[in-house]
């Protein structure tokens, strides 16, 4: 209701205020609001800071202008071509650099900006340093996006701004927003529950670049003259970042709020202080960003959120919905997960030395052994987080060789981490939604909210681990034991056949340990297969059908917990000779 009313006022504004200085300022607000919203998709939600967005802006401006002035193509088509080119360029840059630490991506985009500027400054076809005039058209103004008064431009810029905010809102409300924020918080944890993080980052980057290019086209049509100094300058790249940061990254309205504040302030200081005004407002922005980095990384929207914030009071102690006690019977003979000859060296140290392991459907297999035995490395190698030097892993007869972690989840093997990896700023429900099955999901499908059955599954797992009262509480505010239970629920949410648990009870207080054990047992009765690394032998006794004992990268013993306990080698490894 309020947004609709606000939009109506904004549409009517040019007929109420005819002041052309004001309209010009508003057009810039809309354009920069579009740019900052576009940047926010990749920089805010996905946390990949781009300092080169002027490249996409310039590409949009140049593409439509060159097509119009040299080939008579209308800017509607030229803009679309520019958007496609910008998206393609962003993929080419993002693909290799998304693997690197974040500041490498930031500096790679900065370099891209300089490369574009130098190229266009020296490229005669696009006017080099002299730039290009947009040829004036006096007929069919709408198709040529060219008017002699401000209001039509105002409406066009407003429309573009609405498009950018709309895309952001769709992302924010759909699964995509949750996925991107998860990637921002802990990319490995997102991959561990089956999310193809590279693909989602690329989607966000491409859409961001395309929107930015559209703004470039409109800007060219508005000022009717472009050169490398006004559309390919680092100043635009940096200003866009400043707007998004001050307004509030990772929020729908933050970039727009930031654009209104910054552009209006700049325009008015410039008009009142004249030439002297240049720079003063920017100094203020620099100071503001430093202060925000120190005190409120979420920007203005973070301040708003903090003021509004109510303390979450979860309903504790609600009844648990245990999975049905299905009579699954003893484990079957079917070998579900088979690892053979797994070997992994780090420098001169052999972490895994020919480890073989077999897990049957419906089994709980324990993996025990002293520190440094290679247990977690074994999990890493099975789940694709590390590549073994030798050895094979098969699930249901299918080889997992060289598969990335998210693909391995799709094949039915999921793991938890010894040091908890959840998404602390996402709510319990959102954490579970990140872990929903991604096998047949495309980024476009992820624009919709999760299907009802997925939400129901998430609710069911919340009940199973006793977190239903914490549905909308940020996971970072849960106790450690609850966070462990959440990570268990997330692993189950993926629907994987085999769940690898790395020390599910470490650091958990005894009462919660009983809960975790009961939960795993009952799930297993329902047919779920587990492999558990655990140091607490009581837990192993209570859970494991079979145990592998590892020391120094080898399996030294295998059998029931009783058998392994009596093995003299095991005694020696723990107790010494």
């Amino acid at each position: 209701m309020i947004p609709a009313l606000g939009l109506a006022v904004l549409v009517a504004l040019p007929w109420m205020v005819a002041d052309s200085f004001f309209l010009n300022a508003m057009i810039l607000v809309f354009l920069f609001g579009t740019l900052a919203s576009a940047w926010n998709l990749i920089g805010g939600y996905a946390g990949q800071l781009s300092f080169g967005h002027a490249v996409f802006f310039g590409l949009g401006a140049y593409t439509s202008t060159v097509l119009l002035s040299r080939h008579g193509v209308v800017p509607w088509v030229g803009g679309a071509v520019g958007a496609v080119l910008a998206a393609a360029l962003s993929l080419a840059v993002g693909y290799p650099t998304f693997r690197l630490r974040r500041h490498f991506f930031a500096l790679a985009t900065l370099a891209l900006g300089e490369i574009a500027r130098i190229t266009f400054l020296n490229w005669e076809y696009v006017g080099a340093a002299i730039g290009l005039y947009v040829p004036l058209q006096f007929r069919n103004r709408l198709s040529y996006l060219m008017w002699d008064a401000k209001p039509p431009y105002y409406l066009a810029a407003l429309a573009l701004g609405v498009l950018a905010v709309g895309v952001t809102a769709v992302v924010d409300r759909g699964r995509m927003g949750i996925y991107l924020r998860a990637i921002n918080q802990d990319e490995d944890a997102a991959r561990a529950v089956g999310l193809d993080t590279l693909r989602y980052k690329q989607w966000a980057m491409a859409v961001s670049a395309a929107l930015t290019a559209l703004a470039g086209t409109l800007y060219a049509q508005y000022v009717l003259y472009i050169d490398p100094y006004n559309v390919l300058t680092a100043r635009i790249s940096l200003l866009v970042v400043v707007i998004a940061l001050i307004g509030g990254r990772g929020t729908v309205w933050g970039p727009v709020v930031g654009a209104a504040f910054i552009v209006l302030l700049s325009e008015y200081t410039r008009s009142t202080l004249g030439h002297l005004g240049q720079g003063y407002d920017y100094i203020l922005f620099g100071l503001l960003i430093m202060l925000l980095a120190l005190y409120e990384p979420r920007g203005a929207m973070g301040v708003v959120r903090r003021l509004r914030r109510r303390s979450p009071l979860p309903v504790a102690g609600a009844a648990k919905d245990r999975p049905p006690e299905a009579e699954a019977g003893p484990p079957t003979a079917e070998a579900l997960l088979v690892a053979r000859g797994m070997t992994k060296r780090f420098g001169g140290i052999v972490a895994l030395d020919g480890v073989s392991l077999q897990v049957r459907r419906g089994e709980i297999v324990g993996v025990i052994g002293p520190n440094g035995a290679g247990k977690s490395t074994l999990f890493d190698c099975i789940t694709g987080f590390q590549r073994p030097d030798a050895g094979t892993v098969e699930v249901g007869g299918l080889s997992l060789r060289h598969q990335p972690p998210h693909r391995i989840v799709h094949h039915g093997v999921v793991r938890t981490f010894q040091l908890l990896r959840i998404f602390p700023e996402l709510t319990v429900r959102e954490n579970l939604l990140v872990a929903q099955p991604h096998r047949a999901e495309s980024p476009w499908a992820a624009l919709r909210p999760s299907p009802r059955e997925v939400e129901e599954r998430a609710a069911r797992w919340m009940r199973v681990v006793g977190l239903e009262g914490y549905r909308d509480v940020p996971a970072g505010e849960l106790s450690y034991g609850q966070q462990k239970l959440l990570s268990l629920a997330m692993a189950l949410m993926t629907g994987a056949d085999v769940v690898l648990l790395d020390e599910p009870t470490a650091g958990v207080n005894p009462a919660v340990i009983q809960e975790v054990v009961a939960c795993i047992r009952e799930l297993n009765r329902g047919g779920q297969t587990f492999v558990v690394i655990e140091h607490n032998m009581e837990v192993i006794d209570a859970l494991a059908h079979r145990v592998y004992f590892m020391a120094d990268g080898r399996v030294l013993a295998e059998g029931t917990p009783q058998q392994v306990r009596q093995n003299p080698q095991v005694l020696e490894a723990y107790y010494g000779r």
Partner: protein, 262 residues
């Protein structure tokens, strides 16, 4: 060249990381001239306890005393200056500095004129290091690195030495050498608190041991009696719980047994 032994005392110390409480109320004493081991299964909080004593992890509750002085909440640099040295689990050498530079940094906190002579004496104690003094520390073998770390600790002249898994990943022959050096350090009057997962090894070389389980001290005792205790076995290997709580042994005496080293 080591300083006089001190007495380290912990009173109801709690600590952890974020929502996770790892050490849940530990009280213990390491007297001057004692070698005391903390044993227990993985994840019991042994390393976190040492990190808390040294100031890497701030205690949430409780107090830590060195003789009369309060160490609670001090930064690592200050804890070291008061006389508590710490050798962490894994590698403690500075890989891209030479062996000699590593030793010189061992005396970083010292301002006295005897540093040069002390380094010379350390080289006499560890001839293998003298032969490699100009090499980068990363070129040393695992055993040599550990020797360099212990030699470096000697130059810090601690009153209390904290050692976290000093023999982890070392060959049996080197393990004996490491305990020889620890015995030498102990003979100079330094109190040693060491963490070992390998219970038998630890108890062979320590006067006393505490068994840590789930962040709390479950038992305290000496040598074989602790090893044979069914609850200690259970903590490591599982099985039936002992029903005889009186079997817990208590010993506060110190120095009445040699450190078991030659």
């Amino acid at each position: 060249m080591a300083g006089e032994g001190g007495t380290l005392r912990l009173e109801d110390v709690h600590s952890g990381y974020g929502p996770l409480e790892v050490v849940r109320g530990v009280s213990l004493v390491v007297g001057g001239g004692e070698v005391v081991a903390i044993i227990g299964p993985n994840g019991a909080g042994k390393s976190t306890l040492l990190r808390t004593i040294f100031g890497f992890v701030p205690p949430r509750r409780g107090r830590i005393w060195l003789d009369g002085g309060d160490l609670t909440g001090l930064r690592p640099v200050e804890v070291l200056r008061r006389g508590v040295a710490y050798v962490m689990q894994g590698y403690n050498v500075l890989p891209n500095l030479t062996v000699d530079d590593n030793l010189q940094l061992g005396a970083y906190i010292r301002r006295d004129p005897h540093v040069r002579a002390d380094i010379q004496r350390v080289y006499e104690l560890f001839p293998a290091l003298w032969a490699r003094r100009r090499q980068k520390a990363r070129t040393l073998s695992g055993g040599e690195r550990r020797m360099l770390e212990l030699a470096r600790v000697l130059l810090q002249r601690p009153r209390v030495l904290l050692l976290d898994e000093p023999t982890l990943g070392l060959a049996p022959r080197v393990i004996d050498q490491v305990y020889d050096v620890i015995a030498q350090i102990h003979r100079q009057g330094v109190a040693v608190l060491l963490v070992e997962q390998n219970a038998r090894t630890a108890l062979r070389h320590a006067h006393r041991a505490y068994v840590l389980e789930a962040g709390r001290i479950r038992f305290e005792g000496r040598g074989q009696e602790l090893l044979d205790h069914p609850d200690v076995r259970r903590a490591y290997l599982g099985g039936e719980r002992s029903t005889n709580p009186s079997a817990t042994s208590r010993s506060t005496s110190s120095g009445d047994r040699s450190a078991g080293s030659p």
